[in-house]
């Protein structure tokens, strides 16, 4: 009996085709509930209280939520607590309705959460394509032997992931450098690879930790707009830490503001920008538009 080889989906021309292919690659949303809720979270490192009972951080479905605050405000600690790299002293983290406070980061990723980091954590000795493909780990089936010796199911998943990686590359403007080693690319392209790798893990909730760090103002604006577009198109929930306040104000709603481990404000961009505590501690009297 002839074995019919799996035919991978075709990637047509243009952004829409790429989006369609990538949407098909994303797993079915199987979890109900609000994507992310952090409640009463505290964390101290010795005598330093990085988080002081942050009452509520909520990322509703299909929203682009911003988290801002000056350096040392506790934003990255909060991210690490939400993501599972740091366990909180008090409080709980609810992911798609499940209490994941004690779960490991990779278990949280299986529920549909992914994140990027302030510094680039891509493999500079791999091509753009291989870096992107590494993100698809949990969407490709196969144990040690079935994946190594390429069982039919594994091979089909691999082919789908390869086409999806090309689609993501196109969406992120990385298509021309798909087979170029990451070390030969500029920093902004490397940031995009990191975001692309997170997308390849098939998240429904994406945590972005200063994706524009180290990128010039023009590029930063472009990058945040690109993420916003993907968030809308793919129906993701995104929590964004960003020093580029203008980009947060233009794209995010709601916005949370942390200062010295305390949540000092939350609400719509206009509510946050008018909040006297925020103006005093972070934005300055001149208002928004500061690239801190």
């Amino acid at each position: 009996m002839a074995v019919t080889e799996f035919q991978p989906p075709e990637l047509g021309e243009g952004q829409d085709a790429a989006l369609e292919v990538f949407e098909r690659f994303l797993p079915e949303q199987t979890y109900e509930g609000v994507p992310l809720v952090g409640r009463d979270l505290s964390k101290a490192f010795g005598g330093i209280r990085a988080l002081r009972e942050v009452p509520l951080i909520e990322v509703p479905p299909h929203t682009f939520v911003g988290l801002i605050g000056p350096n040392g405000a506790g934003k990255s600690t909060l991210f690490n607590v939400l993501n599972g790299f740091t366990s909180p002293d008090t409080g709980e983290v609810i992911l798609f309705g499940q209490d994941v406070t004690k779960k490991q980061p990779w278990d949280r990723a299986k529920l549909g959460m992914s994140r990027t980091f302030q510094a680039n954590h891509i493999d500079l000795d791999l091509t753009t394509f291989d870096n992107l493909l590494a993100g698809a780990f949990q969407l490709i089936r196969g144990g040690l032997f079935t994946a190594t010796f390429r069982s039919s199911k594994n091979y089909a998943d691999e082919q789908k992931a390869r086409v999806a990686a090309k689609a993501v590359a196109r969406l992120l403007g990385l298509e021309p450098v798909l087979n170029v080693m990451a070390r030969n690319l500029d920093f902004a392209a490397q940031r995009r690879i990191e975001i692309g790798r997170s997308l390849m893990s098939g998240p429904r909730l994406l945590l972005l930790d200063e994706p524009t760090a180290g990128v010039d103002a023009h590029e930063a604006k472009e990058l945040v707009a690109l993420v916003k577009r993907m968030q809308v198109d793919l129906g993701l929930a995104v929590l964004l830490i960003e020093h580029f306040v203008q980009a947060v104000m233009e794209n995010c709603n709601p916005i949370y503001v942390l200062d010295q481990g305390t949540l000092i404000a939350s609400g719509t961009p206009s509510e946050v920008s008018k909040d006297p505590k925020v103006r005093a501690s972070y934005l300055g009297e001149s208002g928004t538009g500061k690239h801190a």
Binding site: A134, A147, N184, S201
Partner: protein, 409 residues
């Protein structure tokens, strides 16, 4: 069906060269003296050990100093299980047990250091090496003690591997299988996961990969391959080698192979393993004495100087970079660059490439200021710029084509 395995062959290497390689690997033993055929078998087994270590050193980013003990354990255990005055089991059974035990011991070391890395893993694996030396190697029943033991070469599936040539082919087949397995593994989801764990554990965890699991897997695969090399070494020598060959110093020798070759190319690991085995014997024919340990030491130094990508990686990088610069130029991205402006003139004075792999110049460089304010020269410090722009430095200014940088901002 074959299409799914096509990626094993590099698209940049012509198909005929694989045929030539196969012909050379099979044919050279037919035209050389027996001694060299024997060495060929030994080189294949060293290559298998080194490939096993490459999984830990190159792909998982850890260092194991227990490799010689694991090879030795399998040498003596397999030898004991298959020899007539031992358990007299079929060779493949004895070999399988040797591989499993070596894999289990190596995994145990990884388990004990699951949350640690670097120096702690090195110390613990060195501890495992010494423990095996003091326990397994002191069991006379296994090693044969001072008298030594005789071991016949295996026969199975109707095939006899008694001659040096036939045993070489057995070793070559094992090496080819290991090569195929590792190439397929490296390209699988698990291989990619292992590399991502090496790059950054947190980044791996963020996409659903358990770093601990892949560290343990790397040590397990490595242990099994070291066990395979050990189990086949026993019949190669007919009498298992003295335990002096498997003491801690030998672990450093084994480590030298993947360190010299790098993790980028498995072929380069095999080439280095053959060189390490053949070079001292070749020089001896010319009446020049060179201890294999000196070869190993020189390899470690060379590998350390070249860097983590080793000789294989360095050569491939040269070829790749040339190819990729054309791709980048075609895409309008000529690689990381910085534009220099003198602050008073809007026009760009010069563009300085800041490749991440480029060694920054150590001296201040004068950049001709074609449109400088005074028509003179603008003194720039590409070294400083390159350092600031280097991803590894922690400073993350943007090496983006077209980024404006006036030497101050």
């Amino acid at each position: 069906m074959l299409r799914r395995y096509a990626s094993v062959l590099s698209p940049n290497v012509p198909l005929w060269s694989y045929g030539v390689l196969l012909a050379v690997a099979v044919g050279w033993v037919l035209v050389v003296p027996k001694f060299w055929v024997f060495l060929g078998g030994a080189a294949c087994l060293l290559a298998i050990s080194a490939l096993g270590l490459t999984v830990v050193v190159g792909w998982a980013g850890e260092v194991s100093l227990a490799s010689a003990a694991l090879v030795g354990t399998s040498v003596y255990l397999t030898g004991y299980l298959v020899r007539a005055d031992g358990q007299h089991l079929p060779f493949l059974v004895g070999l399988g047990v040797g591989m499993l035990v070596a894999g289990a011991l190596h995994s145990f070391a990884a388990l004990a250091t699951a949350k640690l890395s670097g120096i702690y893993v090195m110390v613990l694996t060195l501890g495992l090496q010494v423990t095996i030396e003091r326990t397994v190697f002191s069991v006379a029943k296994l090693t044969g003690g001072a008298e030594g033991v005789y071991l016949s070469r295996p026969s199975f599936l109707g095939l006899h591997f008694d001659s040096d040539t036939s045993f070489y082919y057995l070793c070559l087949a094992a090496l080819a299988f290991v090569m195929l397995f590792l190439t397929l593994f490296r390209q699988s989801r698990h291989g990619r996961a292992m590399l991502l764990v090496r790059t950054n554990r947190e980044a791996a965890a963020a996409v659903g990969i358990s770093p601990w699991r892949y560290k343990i897997l790397a040590f397990a695969i490595s242990g099994v391959l070291l066990g395979l090399a050990g189990g086949m070494t026993a019949p190669l020598y007919r009498s298992p080698p003295t335990l002096l060959q498997y003491l801690s110093f030998a672990s450093l020798f084994l480590l030298a192979v993947p360190v010299t070759a790098g993790s980028e190319s498995l072929i380069s690991v095999i080439v280095v393993a053959f060189t390490f085995t053949m070079l001292p014997a070749g020089l001896e024919e010319l009446h020049l004495r060179l201890s294999p340990n000196i070869v190993g030491g020189a390899g470690l130094l060379t590998g350390t100087y070249i860097g983590a990508r080793g000789i294989g990686g360095a050569l491939l990088d040269k070829l790749r970079d040339r190819r990729e610069s054309a791709t980048l130029a075609a895409a309008g991205l000529s690689g990381p660059t910085v534009e220099l402006r003198d602050g008073r003139e809007p026009a760009v004075i010069d563009t300085v490439p800041v490749g991440a792999t480029r060694r920054p110049p150590r001296t201040r460089t004068r950049v001709p200021a074609g449109v400088g304010a005074n028509g003179g020269e603008l003194v720039a410090t590409p070294a400083g710029l390159a350092a600031a722009l280097s991803n590894g430095s922690g400073l993350v200014l943007p090496p983006r084509p077209g980024s404006q940088l006036d030497g101050r901002r």
